[in-house]
């Protein structure tokens, strides 16, 4: 009986003490804090892998403990806000992409609207939105274009749309104009069900 009680206690404490072996790479200051953050995320059913990866990135880049903890804490908060915007059934890749979009400045309402208009995964639309903003496209223009395309365009079409925008910006077009032109072309392509990625047989490129 004593053994059973002890086993129960150990089992109940196990999730809190279950240190991911990869976190051994962190320094002694950040490791317990990151472990606690990961445990807290797990307790509220947030994906923990993005947090682990963000901490490992810091360790590999020899960041200070303060920076690693701050980055992981901020990402955990972003993931929580992303789930608030997208709903509890959102997949971990979608949540990661949504967290990045929110960090880039996308309004939560845009994420909620994306969920409403697109039945498929939101990972790529959210990533395209984030990448466009990173390229200098105003958030409103990027959000409007992605929302317009998301209902019909496939992932490959959206990636091609992002490439077209970046190409035009590199050639000197204003980001908002480049977005509008590429969105019009992508919308036409999606309407006639042209899959921009279907011809690709070789390994893809970022």
């Amino acid at each position: 009986m004593t053994l059973l009680v002890a086993a129960t206690l150990v089992a109940l404490q196990a999730p809190a003490q279950g240190l991911d072996p990869r976190l051994q790479r962190l320094d002694s200051i950040s490791r317990p804090i990151v472990t606690a953050l990961v445990d807290s995320a797990r307790a509220v059913a947030l994906p923990t892998e993005p947090l682990v990866q963000r901490a490992l990135e810091g360790a590999t880049k020899r960041a200070t403990a303060d920076r690693i903890v701050a980055a992981v804490r901020r990402l955990a908060l972003d993931l929580s806000h992303a789930r608030d915007a997208l709903g509890p059934m959102t997949s971990p890749p979608e949540l990661s992409a949504a967290a990045a979009a929110l960090r880039a400045g996308a309004p939560p309402a845009t994420l909620t609207e994306l969920r409403r208009v697109r039945p498929e995964s939101l990972t790529v639309p959210l990533a395209v939105l984030t990448d466009l903003v990173a390229s200098g496209v105003p958030v409103d223009s990027a959000a409007g274009a992605v929302l317009a395309l998301a209902a019909r365009a496939r992932d490959a079409d959206l990636v091609e749309f992002r490439r077209a925008v970046e190409r035009d910006i590199a050639l000197g077009a204003p980001p908002a104009s480049a977005t509008a032109a590429a969105a019009a072309a992508a919308f036409a392509a999606a309407t006639v069900q042209v899959n921009a990625g279907a011809k690709q047989q070789r390994p893809g490129r970022p």
């Binding site: 196990a14 999730p15 892998e49 980055a71 990661s96 790529v124 959210l126 990533a127």
Partner: protein, 181 residues
Amino acid sequence: MFEPDEELIGRVLRQLRRPVTVDASLDARVMEQVRRHPPRRAAGAAQAAWGWLTRPRTIRLSPLGALAIAAVFVAVVLGRPDRSSRSTAASGREFAFVVVAPRATTVSLVGDFNDWDAARTPMRRVRQDESVWAAVIPLTPGRYRYAFLVDGVRWLADPAAPAARDDEYGAPSSVVTVGGS
């Protein structure tokens, strides 16, 4: 109610108390039959083990014991690291990463897909004595941060890919997004 019949009981008792006569050679004949079947020790042990393993049993468990077993099971399942979102490399679409790094001795591809482990994905020169390095890895749908590590000390972002916007560590990273449709 049952009324005992003393005469009947007496008859039964007398019958049971009658001496039974056994043939004097019975013991010898039984032992002779036993000796004709030699012992099968190995098969017997295996049979016994199989019988022990397959014999149905009734397991009695207290509610507390059942609770403890359930708790251990839940802890084992939930205590595992969550790798659902990044169990990448086993299967997925192949992606080629290319970087130009003149005078580099080694270049590694490091990112969310390999636990930011610089030793895991070394890049190769496309041709000898050239400065173009490449690596091809499978990726499942998702969004990944990554960078190139040159000679173990210098970080390079991928000029052909979107930059990671939230770069808290002071070294550049890029992002690659893998779609499913």
